[in-house]
């Protein structure tokens, strides 16, 4: 709109993004799970930052927009950690007894 700011070099950003894409595809080929997590999700975050900051012009936007978006993601984190103990611990109703042999999990499925 009316604000004057120097545009980032969009083409350069695009090349960066493509480079990162190649890394994230190549990452799993090394077959190290820990590394794959970093190349897959770490690079996704870098890519997301590049797109948000440059293409969406968040670099030039008021700071509170950043806070708004980051707060949204943090709230999802709250949701995740509130739900995780329930959904991820299906070794359920007797709490101690079935952890050893997983019998009640099978019963439930």
């Amino acid at each position: 709109m009316s604000e004057a700011y120097a545009h980032p070099n969009y083409i350069k950003i695009w090349f960066w993004l493509l480079g990162l894409l190649v890394i994230s595809v190549a990452g799993p080929m090394l077959e190290i799970p820990a590394l794959t997590i970093i190349t897959a999700f770490g690079i996704a975050i870098v890519k997301a930052y590049l797109v948000a900051a440059n293409f969406m012009h968040l670099k030039f936007e008021k700071k509170f927009i950043w806070y708004l978006l980051i707060l949204s993601i943090c709230l999802l984190g709250v949701f995740f950690f509130g739900v995780a103990p329930d959904v991820m611990m299906t070794d359920g109703d007797q709490w101690i007894d079935c952890i050893a042999d997983k019998s009640c999990v099978e019963q439930r499925l």
């Binding site: 709109m1 545009h7 969009y10 083409i11 950003i13 695009w14 993004l17 493509l18 894409l21 994230s24 595809v25 990452g27 799993p28 799970p33 794959t36 997590i37 190349t39 897959a40 999700f41 690079i43 996704a44 890519k47 997301a48 797109v51 948000a52 293409f55 969406m56 012009h57 936007e61 008021k62 509170f64 927009i65 708004l68 978006l69 949204s72 993601i73 709230l75 999802l76 949701f79 995740f80 739900v83 995780a84 959904v87 991820m88 299906t90």
Partner: protein
Amino acid sequence: MSMHGPIATHRSATGVPSGRLAIWWLLASEIFIFGGLVTCFVLFKLNGTPGFEDASLTSTAAGAINTFVLLTSSLSIVLAHAAIEKGDRVKSFRYIWYTIGGGVVFLGIKTYEYTGKIIHGHVITENLFWSFYYTMTGLHALHVIGGMVIMALISFDIRKGHNYQRVELIGIYWHFVDLVWIFLFPLLYIANF
């Protein structure tokens, strides 16, 4: 330029124009919708729910090509915005249609992928992984289609010479759709362990 709409629309106490502010709020609410789905997916995946090993069956090549297509279409819509800022309607119109073309290619590859999976019996009800796969990519594809339709409408608008600011707004939306895909790609295609 003639003013239309209420005066309220043209006020800007925050310094961010209303249209853009509204888009940011829209995206914040979209973060929760996609984020809710992704959170559920991650919960099941980390829990080792049976069926999630099927992530190895998704075609990384198709996903990577689609990422490439979306990234490129993101570039073209931002170039459309840069062009309209200089007042170049023809160039901007052309870039918008390149972006729509990118959307079409994306959906084409998606269709090809879906068909392949369904032929091999990986339908939406097979197990939870495929349910999530089709729900998440399907919801994303709906956003792509919606964006394309709106983009087409805007392109004719700017060719006639009004509502230039909308190119930037649809651009921000389109980048968000791109961002969602940036996260869906590793979740559904790469992380198969």
